[in-house]
Amino acid sequence: MAIIEVEHIRKEFKIAKRETGIAGALKSIFNRKFTIKEAVQDISFTIEKGEMVGYIGPNGAGKSTTIKILTGILVPTSGKVLVNGIVPYENRQQNAKNIGVVFGQRTQLWWDLPTIESFELLKEIYQVSDKRYKENMDTFTEILGLDEFINTPVRQLSLGQRMRADIAASLLHDPEILYLDEPTIGLDVVAKEKMRQFIQEINRIRQVTVILTTHDMEDIEKLCKRMILIDHGQKVYDGAIDTVKNRFGKMRTLVVDVEENGKDLVLSGGELIRVEGNRKWIRFNRDEISASQLIAQITSTHNITDLTVEEPTIESIISRIYQEGLSEEAPVSVH
């Protein structure tokens, strides 16, 4: 049974136009002009219980707006949402009991108090029984390693520790759904990897439905089987992550700086996509040719002064989907 059903939601924002300069600022005090921005335009999807779905897109694509609608913070301009049988923005408090929310950029913990106190306060707010609280704290201490900083004030925690504490805090009341908005943002590589393991572990042992927004492609690859890709408030893709990965995830771009010597660059297996002075961008499929083979080809005719290999970003994947298309339906089973 679907735990989340989203049908044709749209969300418009009225944005005051700002004019430049002091005169413009004065003018806009008395005569404000508005533009309508459609943050979300007609998005639909369903999510099954226990699924872990990546909800991704570039900045400003409408990810956070969707999450805010699902959590009941915002009311959609039109469309229908059911989360666990509840319309979240109509029964916000009821909905709040079923969900856990982590906003990566903002903590929900009490900044100036030892971390443990936030847990105790949340226990009261969500009216978690003493027994359940203890069980949960034991589990989280074990998998999230809370004990190493439980008595430290939140403001003194490292970002990685704070995120772990925030995730534990959002799960104290046994929510069925966990919304993670950019849970790895700003973390270093090691902390990111750890965080992904925690999320996986929690999904596995608790059967929590997880919706994860991020613009880190790696988060999605490591965590989710399914992804919903949105851009400019619209759904671009919804289906198995493997389809996207197989199509575009293998593409790499080799960026080389070469000394000009009048000769043309002869490439087989790579495609020159951009040239700027001495710098050249060459796209290639990792399965067809390796970066070192490509480099060997270039060095046979040119001297390379500098090089990097770029992995595909979400932005580049989106633009390729626009160019080449990709079927909306997942060809393989998602569940």
Partner: protein
């Protein structure tokens, strides 16, 4: 959630807030000291003014001091409970307000309990001292009924001023910046309350009675307690103070909740 568990939760959250403030001990102590000196300063100014004139309207120095004490005791309670509301706009701008909306409790209550301004205990103590001093000087006969009325009108004063703070904060739901409004409305209104309403033009008196009911914070109840006539108003008007507070606060709460609805549909 039941009322009882709400009350229990309020104390839990508030005590957490106090402990959080205690983390910054120096700032904490300085705030208490600052409050005390600020009010002592106001009292001195009043004394200087009255030393020259001996009385203002039909109010002598001690009666005015009583007026002053009544204003600050309710303001003291009021800021402990509601001063936090004027920072609502900052929460909205920073996006931290959303946190209150993903929890299964009333957001008005949750926001209110996030901070408890202990530092204002300084002025609370100050106002008690003034009360005692004035009571002796005016030889007020504190019968039980009078004492109960005093308490009820303090509650009324807290609700009126708290309601005002809540209304001002609610503006943030529409304009995102509302903090300045505090200085435009609250600050002059509170200064107005330092002197008997009868010295002001009729228009101001009417506004303070029927529009922004600041007259009910101290002036009207003081006329009842000190057996004075509220010139131009019925003698019993002071008795309405608690009721006015209740009504005004209810309106403020309704406006706040309306603002919250608009926030949910408009975003920030």
């Amino acid at each position: 959630m039941r009322i009882l568990s709400y009350i229990q939760l309020y104390f839990r959250l508030v005590s957490a807030g106090i402990r959080a403030q205690m983390q910054y001990r120096f700032a904490f102590i300085m705030r208490i000291v600052g409050m005390l000196t600020a009010y002592a300063g106001t009292a001195t100014t009043m004394w200087v003014v009255l030393y020259r004139f001996d009385a203002l309207g039909q109010w002598n120095y001690y009666e005015m001091l009583f007026l002053f004490a009544l204003a600050i005791v309710s303001w003291g309670f009021c800021i402990i409970l509601f001063f936090h509301y004027i920072s609502l706009d900052t929460y909205i701008v920073n996006g931290t307000f959303d946190r209150f909306l993903v929890r299964p409790i009333n957001p008005f209550f949750h926001f209110m309990s996030m901070r408890f301004d202990v530092a204002s205990f300084g002025q609370f103590i100050f106002s008690i001292v003034v009360f005692l001093w004035v009571s002796v000087a005016l030889s007020i006969d504190w019968r039980l009924s009078k004492l109960l009325f005093l308490l009820a009108s303090i509650v009324g004063g807290v609700l009126i001023q708290g309601g005002m703070l809540v209304m001002i904060s609610a503006l943030a739901f529409w304009t995102t910046k509302s903090n300045w409004f505090y200085w435009v409305v609250m600050f002059p209104a509170r200064n107005l309350n330092n002197y008997p309403l009868s010295i002001y033009p009729k228009v101001v008196q009417w506004i303070a009675a029927f529009v922004v009911p600041f007259g009910f914070v101290n002036y009207f109840p003081a006329t009842v307690i000190l057996d004075k006539t509220p010139v131009g108003f019925p003698a019993y008007i002071g008795y309405f103070s608690p009721l006015v507070g209740l009504i005004f606060f209810t309106i403020a709460y309704a406006i706040w909740m309306l603002g919250l609805r608009r926030y949910k549909s408009a975003g920030s």
